[in-house]
């Protein structure tokens, strides 16, 4: 009788472990961020990696008049009172830094943008925000936020429209 109980208990614990383990596995699967097929970030030619100049340079975190990149600082119209290191990483310039201190590559800059623009990020992932090319039923080419929005002044710039259609009265 006792032996039977013991075996039952063993069986039960084994089952519980299995359930817990599979739940953990499932959670891990969801933790892995999905990779999106994006083209390389639109860097100014020759500017990346940033470490080619910044390597060994002393880090000065204070807002000031810059010798290099002042044009970016001048046109910075993103966060009021923002400064480079809100997004750029002072210790390794080839990465971006999230608010929680984690580093992300420039290829995953959408994670950085999504810290504030969460709804937009969600819609971008779902395919609603932004442009897609490729296959509607297969591989899609996504674009990074920065392909359309210059990150330092992200508002979409007005463009020249293509010519209006010919009026029916003007058709010869």
């Amino acid at each position: 009788m006792e032996e039977k109980n013991v075996s039952r208990l063993l069986c039960l614990t084994a089952c519980m472990f299995l359930v817990l383990f599979s739940a953990r596995l499932h959670a891990q699967e969801q933790d892995i961020p999905k990779k999106f097929f994006v083209p390389p970030p639109p860097f100014t030619p020759g500017i990346f990696p940033c470490s080619q100049c910044h390597q060994g340079m002393p880090v000065n975190k204070h807002p000031r008049k810059l010798e290099m990149h002042q044009e970016i600082a001048d046109s910075l119209k993103h966060m009021p009172g923002g400064w480079c290191f809100d997004c750029h990483n002072p210790d390794n310039r080839d990465k971006l830094r999230l608010a929680n201190g984690k580093l992300v590559s420039f290829e995953e800059s959408y994670i950085l943008c999504g810290q504030c623009h969460g709804i937009i990020l969600r819609e971008w992932k779902a395919g609603l925000h932004g442009k897609r090319t490729g296959m509607w039923n297969g591989e899609k080419q996504y674009r990074l936020c920065v392909h359309c929005h210059w990150p330092h002044n992200p508002r979409f710039k007005p463009i020249k429209p293509l010519p209006p259609p010919v009026r029916p009265t003007d058709i010869k």
Partner: protein, 308 residues
């Protein structure tokens, strides 16, 4: 009795013999009989597209490819991809993003071999003043031409074929030259269209266009990847319309206008697939369809993604 009277100023027939002769002779005389014109007879006796089997369609397509090659001096492939089972195409357009730049309009022309002179555009981008009664399409401006878009106080709404589930144009056609395919695309068979333009009168969206002349387009501008029911070169006197780029979408690609839009306002996908972009738009945004009250059930959804 003499029927033919020869006079100094010509031959005169009496009425009866003229009619007899006309019935027999004239019809035949007007039509070509040489062997080189065999394709004319094939075209003349071509069956309705839906009544043809695969072999017959293949024959028709090879005849067309031959005709196009002679006409445009280049190889033009005419495809016949069938509708993919379990697919119903839907389109979404985000009016809060559209900036009215007309990139879609011209990308459509490049892709679909429309006539450039006289000009035929399948997409019309309409401009409305913000805050005014704007669903009245007649109050819209189609010929706006500012230096830069978007303009302050205006918004833009591109209109093209809405691919209705209940298409009034199909019912208006006397020759059944236009019909709705199983994947929801309303197509035209340019070889069956007689050019009566009833469908144009029936369409509440102004989406159908007529070739008043032989389509004016240079041979080097012709897109040689075509579909029988889509962008193959048209004839004088037939009606044409947007087909959601059937030659692209039936091969899994996005329509040309979707890929041309610089702001990503255009969404396309399979409405039967719960994970598609278009389903996301329909389920998460307030969508509306143009002239819903006409019971045409368009598969073209307008929405405002931003500021709801």
């Amino acid at each position: 009795m003499r029927k033919i009277v020869k006079k100094k100023d010509g031959i005169h027939l009496d009425r009866r013999s003229f009619l007899k002769g006309a019935a027999l002779g004239l019809a035949g005389a007007a039509l070509p009989v040489k062997s080189a014109d065999a394709s004319f007879w094939e075209a003349f006796f071509q069956k309705h597209f839906k009544e043809m089997n695969d072999d017959e369609i293949k024959q028709v397509i090879s005849r067309l490819e031959h005709e196009y090659e002679e006409k445009y001096k280049k190889t033009i492939t005419v495809g016949n991809e069938k509708a993919i089972p379990g697919v119903l195409f839907g389109y979404g357009l985000d009016l809060s993003r559209c900036i009215g730049c007309r990139r879609c309009e011209y990308a459509c022309v490049d892709e679909n071999n429309q006539s450039k002179d006289p000009q035929i555009h399948w997409i019309s981008v309409l401009r409305f003043k913000k805050g005014e009664k704007w669903v009245d399409l007649e109050d819209s401006e189609k010929y706006y031409n500012p230096e830069l878009v978007p303009e302050q106080d205006y918004f833009y709404m591109p209109v093209q074929c809405q691919q209705c589930e209940n298409p009034p144009c199909v019912r208006a056609c006397p020759t059944q030259a236009t019909w709705k395919e199983p994947d929801g695309i309303v197509v035209v068979d340019y070889n069956w269209c007689i050019g009566c333009r009833y469908c144009m009168a029936a369409c509440p969206y102004g989406a159908r266009h007529f070739n008043w002349t032989e389509p004016g387009r240079k041979s080097e501008e012709i897109n040689s990847q075509t579909h029988y029911l889509g962008n193959r070169p048209r004839y004088k006197g037939v009606v044409e319309k947007c087909t959601f780029c059937i030659q692209r979408t039936r091969n899994g690609r996005y329509p040309a206008c979707v890929e041309a839009c610089p702001v990503g306002a255009r969404k396309f996908g399979n409405m039967l697939d719960p994970n598609s972009e278009i389903r996301y738009a329909i389920e998460h945004k307030r969508v509306f369809r143009l002239k819903e009250d006409l019971n045409t059930y368009p598969k073209f959804y307008y929405f405002f993604a931003y500021g709801v």
